[in-house]
């Protein structure tokens, strides 16, 4: 999702540097959110009750419980638990004493990004935070040891720690961290480059399937999501935006609405920025938000029903007549007669000459529609404006940016805003954008001093999202007389977005002549990152086309790919050769392991098929996420397609929490299958056609295959795994359909291209 965000080897740390305190701005009318202050929902989540803050990450309470600040939003990925594992490991405390809390974005903004990586996107939590979290905790452990050493007048290297105490074995003395924390904070802060980290053979938590801290509260209804925030006396807002992207609000008549019992006000929300969608400098972009109108009422049902009857006039703007069919025709034309917008993004060898020489040529065109994330929790945000400041509760994937957007919406400085991250009922990229935060703050300004919870309907959530672009790609390839792939060409046209060409250009296979081109055309929907990112559009095309060429030329698809992933054939004089070599070695390793695990080749039988695919979620040359390979088994019977079984082999580096990592892969498989089978956003008269789960279906129980996960043992730095399975399974299931004798796959979702689901 992002370019290289942080180079693991060269991270700068500010840990232990003087922290700028942000203090309390104000509190809401003497109340905290409903039920409890357990915003992260875990059983051991801290209620703020003092203790010694040792650095931005760690506070030790008088009862020796340890509050850990987690700079990731919990959107279901398990970040609250896994980042706590990293911190608890190096701090050397009892797991039962660990109390994870969400970080405070104000602290991060006031302290020069002290948490290093606070956006929850790009599968970046574990990979970017492993070193900072471990080092921060190791520094505190060292400072606790030195404080005890001073107190006991013993050399520090004769002391050790265990389960939240400093120990002096020679004398049998021990002291709780809590009893030495006040002294520890005065100790010199160890150099982050040399601070002693635990050796992996001593690990108690890293690499163990520690139970997730948030799960118990998610089985009894006590977990507090953004939608559940409640303050006595709060008001509720329903919102309607321009039904056409880019439309402007002309007028509305609120006379009748305001007469309705329980209605407080009807307010205009102004178009404006929605926040950068990536924390990487120079990479993130703001696709903005449109005008809207909101009804504020005593309860949400009233606000919603009154809003439905409100007459609103829109200036629908330049996209008023946009429709999917015309966009498809425009893209076809752009592919057939490439204009100046078509840019060559990769050009190696001489594709035209190689195609001319080829013994056999292949050609195919593939399409992928706009799609929407559809997290189960509809979009919402709670805000209060008072005393010249703003307080916000949001399940945001990018709280730092959400805070900045809140400040802009209220026209105050960022110091006047507090943003409380809360549990999010799924994100998948949708909650990176902060449009709804701006809306909530604008609405709260109309009822200053009163908290307002703004909530979108599912229909609004599907129709006014940020969408990965509709994409159309044309491929050509050629093989020589030995069946070897000697030429590869792809040209793609994609809708308005940040550059998505990486999704197709980062083909790791060694092909002597490659040309990849990409043209971006202006399309109505604003762009958004979605789980799997550009690889969800493009990766399956590459993998499916490779598979098709292998099958058509009588070659085994696995051996065909392995022949293109040979380290000994990597040219010497290429740019970033080390990275290319790493990728080939990792991809080959998972593919060989998969081949052996499933005993490939499996003989196909009528109506049954197996497909394989391989993927590494390489966002940028310096940064590659887990390499993975999958085999999918399908049956294609008279009543349609059934996906029966998925086997995933994955090299994710060190896995911090295996059981949770497996859950992420199982979930990624389900997400990829939804994309493959169902997901499609289309436009008519400038408006999104789909509106809810009846016409924008999500995979259900009946269509869920069994999923088998095999991790390759690794001591390498941990990679992100949340997104990798999505493109991987899309490609593998497409290839399985080919093996089952199904129709050629030329577009997603397949149910819109003639494939019936059993």
């Amino acid at each position: 999702m992002s370019k290289q965000v942080f180079n693991n080897k060269r991270r700068a740390f500010l840990i232990g540097a003087a922290m700028t305190s942000v203090g309390a701005l104000f509190t809401v009318a003497g109340c905290s959110p409903n039920k409890n202050t357990q915003q992260s929902g875990g059983p051991a989540v801290a209620a703020n009750s003092g203790g010694q803050e040792l650095n931005a990450w760690i506070t030790i309470r008088p009862d020796n419980k340890v509050i850990l600040k987690i700079p990731q939003t919990e959107i279901g990925q398990g970040g609250l638990t896994s980042i706590s594992q990293l911190l608890a490991e190096e701090l050397d405390v009892k797991w039962s004493d660990v109390m994870p809390e969400f970080y405070d974005p104000s602290v991060n903004l006031a302290n020069n990004n002290v948490y290093v990586y606070t956006a929850t996107l790009g599968s970046g939590g574990i990979s970017n935070l492993t070193d900072p979290a471990r080092i921060a905790a190791a520094q505190i452990r060292s400072m606790l040891i030195h404080a005890a050493a001073k107190r006991w007048n013993q050399p520090a290297d004769t002391l050790d720690t265990a389960a939240g105490s400093v120990l002096h074995k020679a004398s049998g003395r021990s002291i709780l961290y809590a009893d030495v924390a006040a002294d520890a904070v005065k100790m010199p802060v160890p150099d982050p480059k040399t601070v002693l980290l635990k050796s992996p053979d001593k690990w108690q938590y890293i690499g163990k399937s520690v139970p997730r801290v948030d799960i118990p509260s998610k089985v009894d209804g006590s977990a507090t999501y953004g939608i559940d925030i409640y303050f006595p006396g709060m008001k509720y807002a329903a919102v309607r935006q321009s039904p056409v992207f880019g439309g402007r609000l002309k007028a509305f008549d609120a006379t009748e609405a305001k007469k309705h019992a329980g209605v407080i006000d009807v307010v205009r929300i102004k178009a404006g920025p929605s926040g950068s969608n990536d924390p990487t400098p120079g990479w993130g972009a703001d696709f903005g938000m449109d005008d809207a109108v909101a009804v504020i009422a005593d309860d949400w049902w009233t606000a919603k029903t009154v809003l439905e009857s409100l007459h609103v006039e829109w200036d629908e703007g330049s996209f008023a007549n946009a429709n999917s069919k015309a966009i498809a025709e425009d893209f076809q034309k752009a592919l057939a007669q490439p204009g100046s917008g078509m840019k060559v993004v990769r050009d190696e060898g001489n594709v035209d000459a190689a195609l001319g020489k080829a013994k056999r040529q292949f050609e195919a065109t593939f399409s992928v529609p706009f799609a929407e994330h559809a997290p189960m929790e509809p979009i919402n945000c709670t805000a209060i404006v008072r005393d010249g400041g703003v307080e916000v509760w949001a399940g945001s994937q990018y709280p730092d940016e959400a805070l900045r957007i809140a400040a802009k919406a209220a026209n105050v400085s960022v110091e006047k805003v507090r943003l409380h991250p809360v549990l999010a009922g799924g994100g998948f990229g949708r909650r990176i954008n902060s449009d709804y935060v701006s809306q909530a703050v604008q609405v709260a300004q109309a009822v200053k001093g009163t908290p307002v919870k703004l909530l979108w309907t599912r229909e609004e959530s599907i129709r006014r999202s940020y969408y990965p672009p509709y994409t159309l790609s044309k491929f050509r390839a050629g093989i020589d007389g030995h069946g070897k792939l000697i030429a590869w060409e792809s040209a793609s046209v994609g809708g308005r977005a940040q550059d998505q060409s990486y999704g197709t250009a980062r083909l790791p296979h060694l092909i002597p002549n490659i040309r990849v081109s990409y043209e971006m055309r202006t399309t109505p929907p604003p762009f958004g990152w979605k789980r799997g990112v550009g690889f969800s559009q493009h990766h399956w095309m590459n993998q499916y086309f490779l598979n098709e060429i292998a099958r058509a030329s009588g070659q085994d698809p696995v051996e065909f790919q392995l022949a293109l992933l040979r380290a000994d054939e990597l040219p010497q004089n290429i740019e970033k050769r080390d990275l290319a070599l790493d990728r080939i070695v990792a991809l080959r390793r998972v593919l060989e392991k998969l081949r052996d695990t499933v005993k490939w080749p499996v003989k196909s039988s009528p109506g049954r098929g197996r497909g394989i695919a391989v993927h590494d979620q390489s966002y940028w040359p310096e940064y590659s996420a887990a390499a993975s390979a999958a085999m999918v088994e399908v049956s294609m019977q008279k009543d349609g397609l059934k996906v029966d079984r998925v086997v995933v082999v994955i090299d994710a580096g060190r896995v911090v929490n295996p059981n949770n990592a497996i859950a992420q892969i199982q979930g990624g498989v389900a997400f990829g299958l939804t994309d493959f089978l169902y997901s499609q956003i289309s436009l008519e008269n400038g408006k999104v056609v789909q509106s809810n789960f009846h016409d924008y279906p999500i995979l259900k129980m009946a269509a869920m295959p069994s999923v088998e996960v095999h991790f390759l043992p690794s001591e390498a730095h941990s990679h992100g795994i949340g997104e990798t399975p999505v493109p991987l399974v899309i490609a593998a299931v497409a290839n399985a359909i080919a093996d089952a004798g199904g129709p050629p796959i030329r577009g997603l979702p397949v149910t819109a291209h003639g494939v019936q689901v059993a």
Binding site: D214, M376, T457, A663, V669, A670
Partner: protein, 153 residues
């Protein structure tokens, strides 16, 4: 309109629009927020509660239609997460984002009461709630684990 609701064994006097779905009466007026809004059209099941012991999608039921029937929400299912389905959900680490799981647990509890030892086909046809995180694999395992245990009967 004044309406009396029996929720988790407690009577609540509400003054609400009679057309308001039970879901919103529970969330915004009884302040029990474990029951979730997902779609509002009975498609996803995030709002599943028990009405007179039967699993229903509370976004489709006007609060005025509840009458004297007892409403059970996730908060009233069992004290201290003690229901075998809740215990199986914890043991199998089912939830990810967790948003759909209140409804999922309520749907499964009702399903297992009628069919204590379901087959995969029974589960496929009867458990139709949506989980966007894709926890179905573990839901299936957890259901079979409860069925084996049979403590839920």
């Amino acid at each position: 309109m004044k309406i009396e609701l029996d929720v988790n064994g407690k009577l609540h006097q509400l003054d609400v629009d009679p057309a308001m779905p039970l879901l919103w009466a529970l969330r915004d007026h009884v302040h029990l927020t474990g029951t979730k809004y997902g779609c509002g059209i009975g498609q996803c099941g995030a709002c599943t509660v028990h009405l007179g012991g039967e699993a229903v999608r509370s976004c489709l039921i006007p609060v005025s239609a509840v009458g004297k029937q007892k409403v059970t929400t996730i908060e009233g299912l069992a004290p201290d997460k003690g229901h075998p389905v809740q215990q199986a959900w914890i043991a199998h680490a089912v939830p990810q984002c967790g948003y759909c799981q209140s409804g999922m647990v309520m749907a499964v509890v009702s399903f297992l009461r009628k069919n204590p030892t379901p087959t995969d086909e029974d589960i496929n046809s009867q458990i139709t709630n949506i989980c966007r995180c894709g926890t179905y694999h573990r839901i299936r395992e957890a259901i079979h684990a409860v069925a084996k245990d049979e403590k839920h009967v």
